[in-house]
């Protein structure tokens, strides 16, 4: 029977939510959380002998230490296969799954597999390095993800031939697989063109890579003459969250006046973000949105002015498309208000 080690975060490990996201990696025997669904899917073909549970913030803040500790655990177990997640659209979890899979594959030579949503930053970072199964955005997609991942994991562990991404359900970009299409290329192209002209759905065989990069703007000359605005994806809002910005998958951003505000306090501001332990930001929101320091700098003439409004949303699970739309809108407002520079903080 194949031996598998499974990596999950503190939430799926049953340790706790964001308040426990700083726990160090631990090795447990047997399957835990989503591992039990994998175990059922494997039947007698494979067994999850061990599960590594690690806090998402611990991993994100101590990448080298976490990687070394987990590699040591996996090295000791000597599994045939390493599975991480699935992470869905949880950013830190996805990056952790990707980072640890890359390390296990490179340093221990063990086949690896993870799963996540295509917009998870971990997908962009690692999809060309090993197989990542495309999942839905949230844990609702567990039921779809587990059979796909289990099937592919067994094939990888046995060293069997892996089919094309479209057949196996992994994200394209890692391996090129040759196969014969039933129709020849010219016919497929004309069919696609006809479908397009009729306004019907069609699937391109060669999606253009998305190289959406923005060139760096030239440096500013003299900050003492500049108006600086604050923007955050850390969800800082006036106490009570007046616009009810969602704690994840935000559908809107907030614009709030800070004229005359020199310090954010626990009586006046808090975070609406559901993707990190809120206790620190709720105690002192300057820890995420540094209004106090920028007011000092304004007084001292280190900057010309702190802009009278800040823009905020919650960055966790929020679609890239929504974030881009929010920013396009408030960037125009910032321009119209004569803002010269932005400090954007993320949690």
């Amino acid at each position: 029977m194949l031996k598998i080690v499974h990596y999950i975060n503190q939430f799926y490990g049953g340790i706790g939510g964001e308040e426990k996201a700083d726990v160090r990696p631990e090795l447990r025997e047997g399957a835990v959380g989503p591992g039990t669904a994998f175990a059922a899917a494997f039947g007698d073909a494979a067994v999850i002998t061990h599960t590594v549970v690690c806090g998402d913030s611990y991993f994100g803040e101590n990448i080298e230490e976490a990687k070394a500790a987990i590699l040591e655990m996996v090295r000791g177990v000597k599994p045939d296969m390493f599975i991480a997640g699935p992470a869905f659209n949880a950013g830190r979890y996805g990056v952790a799954c990707g980072t640890i899979c890359a390390a296990v594959k490179e340093e221990l030579g063990i086949p690896v597999l993870t799963g996540m949503y295509v917009e998870n930053p971990g997908a962009e970072m690692f999809r060309d390095k090993f197989h990542i199964v495309a999942t839905r955005e949230s844990a609702v997609g567990m039921r779809d993800a587990v059979p796909k991942m289990a099937k592919l994991a067994l094939k990888l562990a046995r060293g069997e031939k892996i089919g094309a991404s479209i057949e196996e359900g992994y994200m394209p970009g890692y391996m090129r697989v040759n196969f014969f299409e039933a129709e020849r290329g010219s016919k497929r192209a004309v069919d696609m063109l006809l479908a397009k002209m009729k306004g019907e759905d069609f699937v391109t065989e060669f999606p253009m890579p998305d190289f959406d990069r923005v060139e760096a703007l030239p440096a500013l000359k003299d900050m003492s003459k500049m108006t600086v605005a604050l923007v955050t994806s850390g969800g800082i809002v006036p106490k009570g969250n007046p616009d009810r910005i969602e704690s994840s998958s935000a559908s809107k951003y907030g614009e709030y006046c800070i004229d005359g505000v020199t310090d954010l306090t626990d009586a006046t501001y808090e975070t609406a973000h559901g993707g990190y332990d809120p206790i620190y930001a709720n105690t002192d929101a300057d820890r995420v949105l540094p209004v106090d320091v920028l007011r000092d700098m304004e007084k001292e003439g280190r900057i010309g002015k702190l802009h009278g409004k800040f823009y905020t949303t919650t960055g966790n699970g929020t679609a890239v498309k929504s974030s881009a739309a929010f920013a396009q809108e408030f960037a125009q407002k910032l321009r119209n208000d004569g803002v010269d520079a932005v400090i954007l903080t993320s949690t």
Partner: protein
């Protein structure tokens, strides 16, 4: 959001803890922060010391904004 603001013609300094994510997202001027739940603070030290730490990070962000960059650059906080 970093990209859209910069695309609109306003330079951005991105302060964040997990800098690989910022690189993937496409920020050009990146300043590493302290920790995910408190990027510009450290509850283990006094409020005064914390403000000094926060000031250093914001200073680094301002320095980043006045530094020419050739592609994505991480500005370590001194």
């Amino acid at each position: 959001m970093v990209k859209e603001v910069e695309r609109a013609g306003i330079p951005v300094a991105h302060i964040c803890t997990v800098t690989p994510i910022s690189m993937t997202v496409g920020a050009n001027r990146i300043v590493p922060a302290i920790a995910i739940p408190h990027p510009l603070g450290n509850p283990k030290v006094s409020m005064e010391e914390e403000k000094v730490l926060r000031r250093k990070i914001v200073e680094t962000a301002l320095d980043a904004l006045t530094t020419e960059v050739d592609g994505q650059t991480i500005f370590e906080v001194k």
